[in-house]
Amino acid sequence: MGRLSGFRVTLTQVFKPKITEDFPKEKRPKPLRFHGRHVLNRYEDGMEKCIGCELCAGVCPARCIYVRGADNPPDAPVSPGERYGFVYEINYLRCIHCDLCVEACPTEAITETNLFEYSFHTRREAIYTREELLVGDDGRAKRQPWELWLGGEDDETSAWMRATSPSGNAEYEGRVAWSGELGFGVRPPERGQLDELPALPAGDDGPGS
């Protein structure tokens, strides 16, 4: 058949299953550590984790984060520390989802959901404010009207953070070195590459001990 064999190829495809996803109605499952839209986490008692240190803004290669810290009001503190981020903005027209902010954050305040299906109509909508980024009282991301949530995108918001080595030390890989999250508690390490934890050096009980 030679030159005409292409006709057989195309005809046999007719009887094979379709691979098209019905996208707006259903989403293909994404990896747990997928870098999506950010959230600002809170402790289990409802306090904000962000301390307004601006390390995320400093490390951001796209310069899309704008943070201003302020002293906590003594009578109604926002975060357990001395200061809190009273301005926190991320410009999603610039963000490249590299997750360097998540790595830089000393208090695991900023992590990412799996959501990338958001399409804003204005530049104002593209700049997420602190109120929009903060998780709600149930520990879930606040859903904006221009975002397409089908459920499950914010189940594992800190998975990528929990998969990296605390303090950047490979020997600490898989050790719990993070605080609890509102609505979720202290979560186990996210491991998918190593089944067994490496042995710690003698006399070391892990980070933070």
Partner: protein, 400 residues
């Protein structure tokens, strides 16, 4: 009028108001049929190609996305229509309509049903049955080149000009092959009238499929016609006029909105017309088995069954065009010209000659098989001689 009235019994008793009204109604019906066919064909094409690529295809507008083409058309209708500053405005505005008009007029000679009676008037289910018949098709597809040529020239831009030069060169080249392959049929049928050609392929029994229909007696002409018609309608794998990678769209690149849509309409009308002509010439047109459950000359067998057979064959051929579109990559331009001038035209010409010899042998009572063998051998010899004479690619360079 006599020339164009042809054998249609509508004109047997002179032309009065009823005849004129019936003609106008027929015109609208045929035009509507063609437009609806284009709408359905584009949807059908997208669905079938999607099937062949494991996709779903359009499925949002209407049931199974069947209204997708209509939605696209409405969108294009309301889009901005720009005119380049350098364009030759009257010609630029006229060109799309020349294309569409020629495409529609070519369809007028296609018989899509049998002879019917409306009141006291008998008529054929086809817009016109001129004695010049098939020549009308060749004339109209030749006229369609003007639309392409004028569009490219009047746009005042380089890509359209190149695209239109390519397209017209291609269409004119393959018109010769189409014409000569049609000759292979005309020698057998001895008439130009499409109604006459279809009448000779009438259905008598299941044997008619091979004995009456002309696809087997004129198998060579059939194959040549299919290839040449594919090229003449600028259909993939011969769609050089709009080679996106080279010409960024070809002759209609400067057109937008509804004017662009009309070019596409004309292109798909041409595909449907050529498929309908292939059905008419080779596949018996509206002829097919009668429905034996009802009376032979009842309205079902007169009105419905022939139209059903015609549409079934038409869509079978159209499925073939879509299949080709999904399977074959675009040729190189010189290969296209090689195929047209060095293979198809000679083959069609020799096929017509051999068919003529066989017809003469049959009429004179000679031994048909011996004559056919001798004529075929002579044709192969001539073809081999021609091929030996034609320089191959690169040979001219050496001579120079």
């Amino acid at each position: 009028m006599a020339v164009f009235a042809g054998g249609d019994p509508l004109f047997d008793h002179g032309i009065d108001l009823t005849v004129v009204v019936m003609l106008i109604v027929k015109t609208f019906v045929v035009f509507g049929l063609l437009l609806v066919s284009v709408l359905l064909y584009i949807w059908f094409m997208r669905k079938v190609i999607a099937d062949m690529q494991n996709r779903i295809g359009p499925d949002k507008a209407g049931p199974f996305g069947i209204l997708q083409t209509l939605a696209d058309g409405v969108k294009l209708f309301f889009k901005e229509r720009t005119t380049p500053i350098a364009a030759d405005r009257p010609v630029y505005l006229l060109a799309p309509f020349v294309s569409a008009l020629a495409a529609f007029l070519a369809f007028a000679i296609v018989p899509f049903g049998g002879a019917v009676r409306i009141g006291s008037h008998a008529t054929f289910l086809q817009l016109a049955d001129p004695p010049v018949g098939i020549l009308w098709l060749l004339a109209m597809s030749g006229l369609g080149v003007y639309g392409v040529m004028l569009a490219g020239w009047s746009s005042g831009s380089k890509y359209p000009l190149l695209g239109s030069v390519r397209a017209s060169a291609q269409v004119l080249s393959y018109e010769a092959a189409v014409g000569l392959s049609v000759v292979g049929v005309l020698v057998l049928t001895n008439t130009l009238s499409t109604r006459g050609i279809v009448g000779q392929q009438a259905w008598h029994s299941w044997d008619s499929f091979v004995s009456q229909w002309l696809w087997l007696p004129a198998i060579g002409a059939f194959i040549i016609f299919l290839i040449a018609a594919t090229a003449e309608t600028n259909h993939p794998p011969f769609d050089f006029s709009e080679a996106e990678e080279e010409l960024a769209g070809g002759y209609h690149i400067e057109y937008s909105g509804i004017r662009f849509a009309i070019f596409y309409l004309a292109e798909f009308m041409n595909v449907i017309t050529m498929s309908a002509i292939a059905v008419t010439l080779f596949l018996g047109g509206p002829s097919g088995p009668w429905l034996t459950l009802v009376a032979h000359h009842g309205w079902v067998n007169v009105w419905i069954v022939p139209v059903f057979w015609f549409l079934l064959k038409l869509w079978a051929v159209l499925y073939g065009t879509v299949w080709i579109r999904a399977s074959l990559p675009r040729l190189r331009y010189d290969l296209l010209m090689n195929l047209g001038w060095k293979v198809l035209i000679e083959a069609a010409f020799l096929w017509a000659m051999v068919t003529g010899v066989i017809v003469v042998a049959r009429d004179r009572g000679w031994n048909v098989y011996l004559t056919a063998f001798a004529a075929g051998a002579a044709a192969l010899l001539v073809y081999g001689f021609l091929m030996a004479c034609v320089p191959r690619a690169g040979e001219l360079e050496e001579i120079r």
